[in-house]
Structure formats: C-alpha cells, structure tokens
C-alpha cells in the first residue's frame, strides 16, 4: 500500500493475484525478472496490457531454467503458440504452476504436457526415450533405454495400449512420493 508502482493497475494486480499463486509483491518481482530478460522488448508500463512476447531462446537462459534438461518443453507447454514465446501472462502462469503452492493435480496436468514431446496427448515410447535421454545425457546404452521405457510403460499403462494417456499418467504420478517436491521451481 505504501509504494506507488506504475507498472500495473490495481485491478490487474488483483486479477493476477486471483489467477495465480503469487502475491502482489511477487508479481511485481516477476515483472522485474521478465523485464531483465529483454529490456528493450518488455515495457515497464503494463497498464494497457501490451502484446509482447519474449522468445524461447532468452527464457531458457534464466538461471532457474538453464540447467533443466526439459527447459525447452517447459516453456513450449506454457506458451500459447506452442513455439515457446511467452507473454507476461504465460510467464507468470508458468512459475505459478511450478511454485510450491500449486496442487498436485494441476502440476500433473502440466507435467504430462511437458513430457509429451510430439504433442499428441499421449506419452508414447518415443516421448519416453527422449525424456530418458535428456535425463541421463544419453549415457545409457540403447538396450538399457529400451528396457527402461518398456518397464515404465508397463508399470503405468492401465488400458493396455502401450502408451500413457493422461489418466494413466495421473494415476501413476499420484503415487509418486517425490513428485511435489521435485516438480517445483523457486523464483
């Protein structure tokens, strides 16, 4: 209430506060981070909702995402055009879902999207192989990759179609004890 910030209107901040898991202060801080990514592109004044999108290449260089093997997929899943260009809305949305206050169901939905590389609403064996290679920096032999993918699908697939639908994925991830603590980025 003390500082007169001119980045957002009060109405906008309220909207952000209701639609995400962040407080006003955090949203302003997020705007600062977003601005840092592309200072010439991102205006400081957001009161009239400018249509500005920061490209993928700049976002994946953020320190929070730089070391993440899935950074490209994360940014693509939250972008509206699927290419990884994030508007500020998408930026805030991304960190809101990845924050520690987001519930498990919401995180499961987005985790499914992230691991679905070919965007067909199913995690098939190729998606799994890509996931695994990114996870281990391609240090497993092809036979090992094959074995792991087969075992993972066998464990989670409930309807027997050799790939994981969202229901299979959610059922499996709801039993994973570490999912909430690992699928979390602090910003």
């Amino acid at each position: 209430m003390g500082n007169k910030q001119t980045i957002f209107t009060d109405e906008q901040l309220d909207a952000y506060q209701d639609c995400t898991f962040f407080t006003r202060k955090e949203i302003l801080r997020l705007h600062g981070r977003y601005h840092e990514l592309a200072p010439h592109l991102v205006p400081m004044d957001y009161t009239n909702d400018p249509d500005v999108k920061v490209p993928l290449a700049l976002i994946v260089n953020m320190p929070e995402l730089k070391e993440n093997p899935f950074r490209n997929r994360i940014v693509e899943s939250f972008s509206e055009d699927g290419q990884g260009n994030l508007s500020f809305n998408d930026f805030v949305d991304m960190f809101s879902v990845l924050s520690e206050m987001a519930p498990r169901e919401l995180k499961a939905i987005y985790a499914f999207k992230i691991y679905d590389f070919n965007v067909d609403n199913y995690i098939c064996k190729e998606d799994l192989e890509k996931t695994l290679n990114k996870l281990t920096k391609e240090e497993l032999t092809p036979e090992e990759v094959n074995l792991v993918c087969e075992k993972a699908i066998e464990e989670a697939d409930l309807d027997g179609d050799n790939k994981l639908s969202f229901a299979d994925f959610e059922n499996m991830i709801s039993r994973a004890p570490d999912f909430l603590s690992t699928f979390h980025i602090r910003i």
Partner: protein
C-alpha cells in the same frame, strides 16, 4: 457390445484391440475424430494444441467454462492465464446480476482465503535458514535437505520444551525460592572441569534436579513440585502427540503408494529430475545419479530374475551363509555391549578427583561413540555380502544401526542403574549385586543428580564429537584432497560424503538422551537447543566446504517415515527409563519431591481439596476396571479402523479396474462412432 477378456489385472487390460501398434491408421483417426475433440477430457487441454477443434467448438469450450464451479479457486484451473482472467471478468460481470448477498458471501470467501494464505506465508517466513536450506537443496539434493529440515524441526521442539520448562519449572522456583541453605562458598577454581562433568559448582545451580526445592509457594494445589511434575508430563505428552502425528502422516503417504513401489522406474523417469537445481555441477551430478539409479534398477530387475532361477542347493548355501552373517552381527553387538559394561565398571571404580578420573568419567560415552561410528560401517559391508536386493540392504543396515544406537544407549542406562546399588530389578538369580553399595550411599547425597550428570555428560560429549568430526576429520581430509590431489593418501580417502543416515541417527540418539534426562536435568532442553544451533552451523560448514554431493541419495518420503518412527521409539524408551528411575530413587534426598513418599504424592494434597464426587471419579479412573474398559474400547476402535482401511484398499482396486474398463469402453465407442459416420458418408 463386445466385452474384452475377463482376466483383468490392474496393471494391464488384455484385450484384442490393445496390441495394435501406434503406427496403424486406426489410431490416427481416433484422435482426429470429431467426437474425440468434444470429449470433456480433451477439453481440459490447452486450446492451442488441439488443432482439430473447429472454431465453433472453440466458442463452446469457452462457454462451458462459465459453468466451472466458482468454489474452485481460479488459480487451480489448468487453462492459460488469459482464460483465467476472462473467467474472472465474467464472474465479476455475473456478480452484478447476482444478488448482493451472494456477492458479499463470495467476497468474504476470497478475503478469508487470502487471509489464510497470508498467515500461512507469514508463519513459513518465520522459519529460519530458509535460503541456506534452499541453497543446500540445490547443490546436494533432496536427501541432505531432509536432514537439515529434521534438524530444524528438532530445534523447534527443544525450544518449545524450553518455553514449557521456563514457565512451569524455572520461573516459579526462582521467584519463590526459600532461604538459601548454602554455607560454603562456590569453588570457582575447578569451573572448567565442572563444565564438562557437571559436578562441583554446576551441581548446585539450576542445571540439576537438586536446585528445585519446594520454596515458598506452598499451596495445596499450587506448589512448585506440582508445577514441576506438570511441566515434565506435558513435555512427554506433547512429544508423543506431535511425533505420532508426523509418523502417521508420513506412513499414510507411503502406504497410499501401494505394494508395488519397490523399484518403480516410472517414478524415476517422471519425477526424478529435481527442478530446483541451478548449478551446472549439481545438474551433471544429478544426471549421473539418475543414470546410476536407473542402472541400479535394471540390475535389481536382473537380480530378481536371477533369484527366480536359484536352485535348491544354492538356496541352502545362501541361507546358511546369511545365518552365519547374522550371528556375526549378533556377536559384534554383544561384544560392543560388553565393552560398554567394562567401561562403566572402570568408571565406577575410580572415585577420586584426579585428571585421570575425569578422563575415565568420559570413557563410557567415548566407547559408545566409537562403537556407533564403527559398527554401522561394518554393517554396511556385511549386508553387501548377504546377496539381498539393494533397497533391502539399505533398510537392513538402517534397522541394524538404529537398533545398535538405541540398544547401546539403553544398555548403558541399564548398567548404570544396576551398577549403582542393590537394586532388586538387577538381581539375576541368587547372585547378589555386590558392587560397592555402601561406598556410594555415603558419598552420594542426591542420586537424581548423578543420573542427570550422566545425561549432561552425554550431551556435552555429543557436541564435542560434532566439533571434532568437523574440524579434525572432515576439514583436514578436504584440505588434503584439494591441495594434494595426486597423492596416494588423497586417492585412498577420496572426498567426503555427507552420510545422511548416520547423521540422522545421531540426531535421534541425542534427542533420546535429552528426553531421558530432562526430569533430572531440567535445563537439558536449553543445552540441547544451543547444541543443535551450533550443530547446524558445523554441519553447514561440513556440507558446503568439505563434502562432495553424494553419489547415492535416498528417497526422502520412504525413509523419513523410518526416522520419525525411530524418534518415537526413542521417546518410548525414555518414558520407560523415567518410570524405572522414579520408582528406584527414594525421594527424600533432594529436589522438589523430598519429604514425599513417591513423586506422585504431591498430587495427594491437591486431591484432598477436591469435592467428593471428583475424588471418587479420580479413584475410579485410576482403578483396574477402568483400565480394562479403556483397553477394550481401544481394541474395538482399532478394529474398526483396520477394517475400514481394508475396505478402502479393496475400493481402490475396484476403482482401478473401473478406470481400465472405462478407457477401453471410450476407445471402443469412439471407434464405433467413427465407423458409423464413415458408413453414412460412403453411399454418396
């Protein structure tokens, strides 16, 4: 409708259709059918990715969302932010058309929710060391973070005890302290030695039991002994409640994961990457770790396959070998207990005040610590030879080490109690315990203080050991490895690893010591708090400066339950010890309970003051009949909960079956629908 094969397991549904490969044209059509796009499950995905949804269906999607339950907070919706803002605007517009009562109610809900969130954030902001623990998590992973979180929890617990003791024990005694009966001047010359052993000057201060005399607060129901008793009892009850709650919550969590979670590759693939890692070294280490874990899991699979192929002779040989190794473990354990006994014996036999005796006074804790350092490592080695799977090896080592720690502590206490005098409990057979009772009776005025001194010594010694292991063991080793990396010694020693298991066991051990000793050394929680504070900074230094990120991290969810459970075991052991001690000491020497027959006699005066009906109720409650009724009621309640749990498990299985069947039904219906549509279009 055609039904699939009836042999339904919850892992797979074997049907004629399920072995179709993804490359068949059939499945591509499935996702492109119009009806598939209209299914509610598809509509929850982002509209940008569902390219086959036409524009009017788009509109329908947006209109559908108006019906979203307004009680679900907006931020939980899995749609993009712009949609959320649109829904919010629409809700605001709706507010103008709904009554003012509804609007007020909704705004109250929002303010209440925001207030709750703010309070939650404020409370979690009070937690100390958040940034440091976050850094440690990023560099060393979730396992090391769990250790520091556990340390912080114990610190909070001890602070709570300090507050309780301060309020109910320390302050009343200090305020209402009677005439001081001290005639001799305190001997400050041996303060240095007294700090470590707890004798001399320290014995007459608030640290030990004898300080808390009855004083001038002498009402029947409000006197310092009663407050003392209340404080101690409330500490124990509080600990029980908090620990049981924490253990049960963790256990429920790991129970929900079900029976088939031993080596779940899907968890490691999908929730294996720790998204909060920010440094490149930690990232590459995590990748190595994931790779190693996956290799380990594949090995375990191969191991299970190998186990299935074991012949009978191999089994027999293996079982004999395992029995041999378990005997070896038992021998090691008994040997260590005998060592502790001899150490206590030596200590008891030395009663003069020379420096040699001071050193000998520390012999039992030193022996215990040495044993507790060496033996878990030996156990790890032994379990490698037993040819179990890796998870079972880990759990077995953990269980043996826990048993060792708690049992050695209880053996120490047992021998200490028995070595003291003619205690009936210790008389095995006809052989009378003739360990110099007379000598002790004459020199010891206050047995409670002696016991408190032992616990005090153990705590101080744990702190010294922390210092020692950090500055004299870990840091030189790091120094050596950094400055002379190519030397033989550095290569043999290798880099430090932060042994989470051993450190957590250490915490559990010291907390048990604190619980055992709090009745006789009421300032022990304060000392423990200080010790934990110092330990935090020592361990932080060790981890950040001297340790390389561990190659082998463990899953916190499953093992932290075990740690809380061992804390509970420690609490139980300390309660048993306390009961034994209260029964064994004849009050009358010192402390708040002198003059009374037993510790609980202080309550008798208060009981006399109560009205008759209260007295008869209390006498009924403490009678055997009531205890019997209570036990019966507990059995009934427990049975009902167990049967409810079983029924829930069956329901889970049934729901899984239903899930499987619904997916295949949906698939079948979609195919039928598209076939019919195709047939309808063909005759054109």
């Amino acid at each position: 409708m055609e039904r699939e094969d009836k042999t339904i397991t919850f892992q797979r549904l074997l049907s004629d259709e399920s072995y179709s490969s993804d490359l068949s044209s059939d499945s591509c059509e499935y996702y492109q059918t119009e009806i598939f796009g209209l299914l509610p499950s598809t509509q929850t995905h982002r509209r940008a990715h569902a390219d086959d949804i036409t524009h009017d269906q788009n509109e329908r999607l947006r209109l559908d969302r108006i019906c979203w339950n307004p009680n679900v907070p907006l931020r939980n919706l899995p749609v993009c932010l712009q949609d959320k803002r649109d829904i919010r605007d629409r809700q605001h517009l709706q507010k103008r058309s709904i009554g003012s009562w509804d609007a007020w109610r909704r705004s109250q809900q929002t303010t209440r929710r925001r207030l709750k969130e703010q309070v939650g954030r404020a409370v979690s902001g009070l937690l100390p060391w958040r940034h440091m623990i976050h850094r440690i998590e990023g560099q060393f992973g979730v396992g090391v973070k769990a250790y520091f979180v556990f340390l912080r929890y114990l610190l909070g617990l001890n602070l709570l005890y300090c507050v309780i003791i301060g309020g109910s024990v320390l302050v009343p005694t200090l305020v209402y302290r009677g005439e001081s009966t001290e005639t001799q001047n305190p001997d400050w010359s041996s303060l240095y030695k007294d700090m470590f052993v707890g004798s001399g000057v320290l014995e007459k201060t608030a640290v030990f039991h004898s300080f808390y005399t009855r004083g001038s607060l002498n009402g029947a129901c409000l006197n310092t002994p009663l407050l003392f008793l209340l404080g101690m009892v409330s500490i124990i009850f509080l600990s029980i409640i908090m620990l049981v709650r924490r253990t049960v919550v963790g256990y429920k969590h790991s129970w929900i994961t079900g029976k088939h979670f031993s080596s779940n590759l899907s968890y490691k693939v999908f929730s294996g990457w720790d998204f909060s890692i920010q440094s490149p070294q930690a990232a590459s280490l995590k990748q190595n770790f994931t790779r190693n874990e996956l290799k380990m899991d594949l090995e375990e699979q191969a191991f299970h396959a190998r186990v299935k192929q074991r012949t009978l002779t191999q089994w027999v040989r293996l079982v004999l070998f395992r029995i041999l190794l378990n005997l070896a473990v038992l021998c090691l354990l008994t040997g260590s207990f005998m060592l502790i006994y001899y150490a206590i014996h030596l200590q008891q036999s030395c009663t003069d005040e020379s420096t040699e005796c001071v050193m000998l006074k520390y012999l039992p804790p030193i022996t215990m610590t040495l044993i507790n350092i060496a033996l878990p490592r030996i156990f790890t080695k032994i379990s490698e030879f037993e040819d179990y799977s890796l998870t079972i090896q880990l759990n077995l080592t953990l269980i043996r080490s826990i048993f060792l720690k708690l049992a050695s502590l209880s053996i120490y206490l047992f021998f200490f109690i028995c070595a003291d005098k003619d205690y009936q409990f210790c008389q095995f057979g006809q052989k009378k315990n003739t360990l110099k009772p007379s000598q002790h009776n004459s020199t010891i005025l206050c047995e409670e203080n002696e016991f408190g001194k032992e616990m005090y010594k153990l705590t101080i010694f744990n702190l010294l050991e922390g210092f020692f292991s950090a500055f004299c063991v870990a840091y030189p080793r790091t120094f050596l490895v950094e400055k002379f990396p190519s030397s033989r010694l550095a290569q043999i020693l290798g880099n430090n690893q932060f042994e989470i298991t051993l450190n957590v066991l250490d915490l559990v051990n010291s907390q048990t010591v604190m619980w055992v000793g709090v009745f006789y050394c009421p300032l022990l929680p304060a000392i423990s708090t200080l010790r934990l504070l110092i330990l935090y900074y020592i361990k932080k230094f060790t981890v950040m400066r001297c340790c390389a990120p561990a190659q082998r991290m463990f899953r916190t969810a499953s093992s932290s339950v075990l740690f809380h459970f061992t804390l509970l075991l420690g609490l139980f052991m300390s309660v048993v010890t306390l009961v034994v001690n209260i029964n064994r000491f004849n009050p009358g020497g010192c402390g708040p309970f002198n003059g009374t027959r037993t510790v609980f006699d202080v309550t008798n005066d208060c009981k006399e003051m109560l009205p008759n009906w209260a007295k008869s109720t209390i006498s009924y409650i403490s009678s055997e009949a009531f205890a019997f009724t209570l036990i019966l009621a507990e059995v009934v309640i427990l049975t009902s909960y167990v049967s409810r749990g079983r029924a829930n498990r069956k329901t889970i299985e049934r729901l899984k079956d239903m899930l499987v069947m619904c997916s295949s039904d949906k698939r079948f219906l979609v195919k039928q629908h598209s076939t019919i549509m195709r047939r309808r279009q063909r005759p054109r």
